[in-house]
């Protein structure tokens, strides 16, 4: 057991040292504007001479903020309203000085406002709003039967739905949470009537939506800024500060439209802005389908094989102990069962405070997740050995260790193998969620595809993930057949 722990510790420290050896890391949230701003930061830092990595679309505000605090990322774009109303909620921050001081207490610096205010708004289809005579948020009070669909983060935030509904006294019958990009499709198809808007969304014009007047001035300003760790060298901070006042609302809406409506590559669009605004020329090549596919496959296989390998090394001894030591049986089976009941997405996010973002937390989460099937099948495989066989083995006068190695484990192999198969197939699926915390893999194109409403991209991740799961299943079936 001691040896196993040492090996694990080695694996973890090796992986985390790889993660730490990375250059400056920029993070961005799940939506296009934030990804574009992330590209701008990365390209400016590169232009200043810093190697950078951009971990795109990592998640919501909480994940990015925690990743910044833990040092998993060095920079990410955010908005002043989000900082004061969500991150520093309840601290009564009234001025920029207050905000700078409060962030500084966390070791976080903030750049000047980039030049546009991407405020929240509630939006409706223009035709419907006019037909119902709705112009302000207050007007919604008279229409509780409208269907509201909000982005998941908006549903939770103090400056989001909980605050708006309280301030305006709204109690609609039908409110659902969904992805922001999907909400636009929902309102276009008529499945929802009211959604949350970012004022720089190009879809407002595209779908002919109208932003309802915030007649009680509930929403604060959301001026875009970069948040960065104060350990960043001054030259790097200067490379971020150059954007202060340099990105106005028109420019931002144009970039958003180029990516979301014209389906152009976000890094290329950011590169064009860098050239026209600062004269910075950088090669932003769009990686082709094949190199991208190969990279995603490698990432995915790495996630699955390392987590599964560690699970096998740990779970089989756990299963043996559970079968042999009555005092440990319910403890070991219980612990691995409880791990399995945690939703995989939640388990992934729970790993962030412990292991930061990237491959490491994903691997640890997948490792924990794959324990149960192997532990349980090892345990039951050993327990199912017929009593006469065990009696004969003991009657031969063989020591217990030899009986375990030559008789019990070989006889339990079919059961253990089917446990490993379950874990492997499951891991291939869970690994697609790894992209949410920056681990790459087939989840990456799926995530980008959802953001850009691009079905081809979604399939680019979904099909190989399904095929890989079938391949793994087939491979194990073949091995099982061979052994019979």
């Amino acid at each position: 057991m001691q040896g196993v722990i040492t090996v694990l510790a080695l694996c973890f420290s090796l992986l985390s040292s790889v993660a730490l050896a990375q250059p400056l890391t920029i993070g961005s949230k799940l939506y296009t504007e934030n990804v574009l701003l992330g590209h701008l930061a990365a390209q400016s830092l590169q232009d200043t001479g810093y190697p950078t990595v951009h971990n795109e679309q990592l998640g919501g505000t909480r994940i990015l903020w925690n990743a910044l605090l833990s040092g998993s990322i060095d920079v990410y774009p955010d908005y002043t309203g989000t900082i004061t109303e969500e991150i520093l909620a309840g601290q009564g921050i009234g001025s920029r000085q207050d905000m700078v001081a409060a962030l500084s207490a966390f070791g976080v610096g903030v750049t000047g406002n980039l030049g546009f205010n991407n405020t929240y708004a509630l939006g409706m289809r223009r035709a419907q709003a006019e037909a119902l005579g709705i112009e302000t948020i207050s007007d919604l009070r008279g229409h509780p039967d409208l269907r509201f669909g909000f982005s998941n983060e908006f549903m939770e935030r103090q400056d989001g739905w909980p605050g708006v509904s309280a301030a305006y006294g709204l109690a609609p019958l039908n409110v659902t949470g969904l992805d922001h990009a999907l909400a636009y499709r929902g309102i276009a198809s008529g499945d929802i009537d009211v959604l949350d808007l970012y004022s720089t969304d190009p879809e407002i014009a595209f779908y002919d939506l109208v932003a309802l007047v915030d007649d009680q001035q509930f929403f604060p300003d959301y001026d875009a800024v970069f948040l960065y760790r104060q350990t960043l060298p001054p030259e790097a901070v200067a490379a971020l500060e150059r954007f202060a006042g340099a990105v106005d609302e028109t420019a931002m809406i144009a970039m958003n439209a180029a990516v979301k409506l014209d389906q152009r590559d976000d890094a290329v669009v950011a590169g064009e802005f860098m050239r026209s605004r600062f004269g910075v020329v950088s090669e932003q090549s769009v990686s082709g389908l094949w190199p991208r596919f190969v990279q995603n496959t490698l990432d995915h296989l790495t996630l699955v094989s390392i987590s599964l390998g560690m699970a096998i090394v740990v779970a089989i001894p756990m299963g043996v102990l559970a079968a042999k030591v009555r005092a440990l049986e319910s403890l070991l089976l219980g612990v691995s069962s409880i791990l399995q009941t945690i939703p995989s997405l939640a388990l992934l996010v729970l790993m962030i405070p412990l292991f930061g973002i990237g491959a490491l937390p994903a691997i640890v989460a997948m490792f924990l997740y794959s324990l149960l099937p192997i532990v349980r099948n090892t345990h039951s495989g050993l327990r199912q050995i017929p009593a006469p066989v065990m009696e004969s083995a003991r009657a031969l006068g063989l020591p217990n260790a030899l009986i375990l190695r030559r008789i019990e484990l070989p006889m339990a192999i079919p059961s253990i193998l089917s446990g490993i198969k379950i874990s492997a197939v499951m891991n291939v699926g869970v690994a697609t969620l790894g992209a949410l915390i920056g681990a790459g893999g087939y989840g990456q194109p799926i995530l980008t595809g959802i953001r850009l409403d691009n079905t081809a991209l979604i399939l680019e991740g979904a099909i190989p993930a399904a095929v890989l799961a079938l391949l793994v299943q087939g491979l194990f079936d073949l091995v099982e057949k061979r052994m019979r």
């Binding site: 017929p386 006469p388 066989v389 009696e391 004969s392 083995a393 003991r394 009657a395 031969l396 006068g397 063989l398 020591p399 030899l402 030559r406 008789i407 070989p410 006889m411």
Partner: protein, 245 residues
């Protein structure tokens, strides 16, 4: 010699063995017989050291079994059970050599011993490459016997060794077993529920009832001089093929 002295075993409220004392002199066969649940198989497991008795002791060739010498003593006893005793994932050959490998026998010694046992038990060497699932019931029991005899132990313990074998093969195996016991001079403790088999293979018969030995002696004594009404009932409850015709 097997010496069982005042052995008792209680499971919960049930007394399975009640102060049993029995001796099997060297080179003789004792048949343990009795109805199901009388404790005969439990007694065999106590002798093998697979179950620890609550009281009393067992000695093999006057060496008393303790937790310390249990593994070593087991290697001086061969054990054959009704069925399922062979390891299904190993070939017959590997079933035979599991112990000798562990004890570090040289290959040629192993090979010679297997040859001797094949001719003793009438097993074709070609069968040894098969796994137990590919052997007939009779072949599997012969291999089980070979495995029990690999180390040439002075003592054999057999628990219904022919219980699951069809009558013709069983008849043949009974003959073979008797000649093997005589030829090798083993001390044998045999559990069976068949009085005919007990009488044919055993020099003496011990009849058990509810954890006690009711009568212990040659078969004639049980037939002509039953100690209790139960013994009389048990020995006359054997059906002859001509009985009802």
């Amino acid at each position: 010699m097997i010496a069982i002295q005042d052995v008792s075993k209680v499971y919960g409220q049930t007394t399975v063995l009640a102060e049993i004392s029995l001796t099997v002199p060297a080179g003789t066969t004792l048949s343990l017989i009795g109805p199901s649940g009388c404790g005969k198989s439990t007694l065999l497991r106590v002798v093998m050291g697979l179950i620890t008795a609550d009281a009393g002791q067992v000695a093999i060739d006057s060496e008393v079994m303790t937790p310390h010498n249990r593994l070593a003593l087991r290697q001086r006893m061969g054990y054959v059970i009704q069925s399922g005793g062979l390891f299904p994932h190993l070939t017959a050959h590997d079933n035979l050599t599991l112990v000798t490998r562990y004890l570090g026998w040289p290959a040629e010694q192993e090979c010679r011993r297997i040859g001797e046992l094949c001719s003793l038990t009438g097993i074709d060497q070609d069968l040894l490459a098969r796994r137990p699932g590919k052997l007939s019931g009779g072949q599997a029991q012969r291999i089980s016997l070979m495995r029990a005899l690999m180390l040439d132990p002075p003592v054999l313990l057999m628990d219904e060794p022919l219980g699951a074998i069809d009558p013709l093969v069983r008849y043949e195996l009974q003959n073979d077993l008797r000649s093997i016991f005589r030829k090798l001079g083993k001390t044998v403790l045999l559990v069976t529920h068949d009085l005919g088999e007990a009488a044919f293979l055993g020099d003496r018969i011990a009849l058990m009832q509810e954890g006690r030995v009711i009568q212990d002696g040659p078969v004639r004594e049980l037939l002509h001089n039953p100690a209790t009404a139960f013994v009389e009932q048990f020995v006359t409850a054997q059906r002859s093929p001509l009985q009802d015709i």
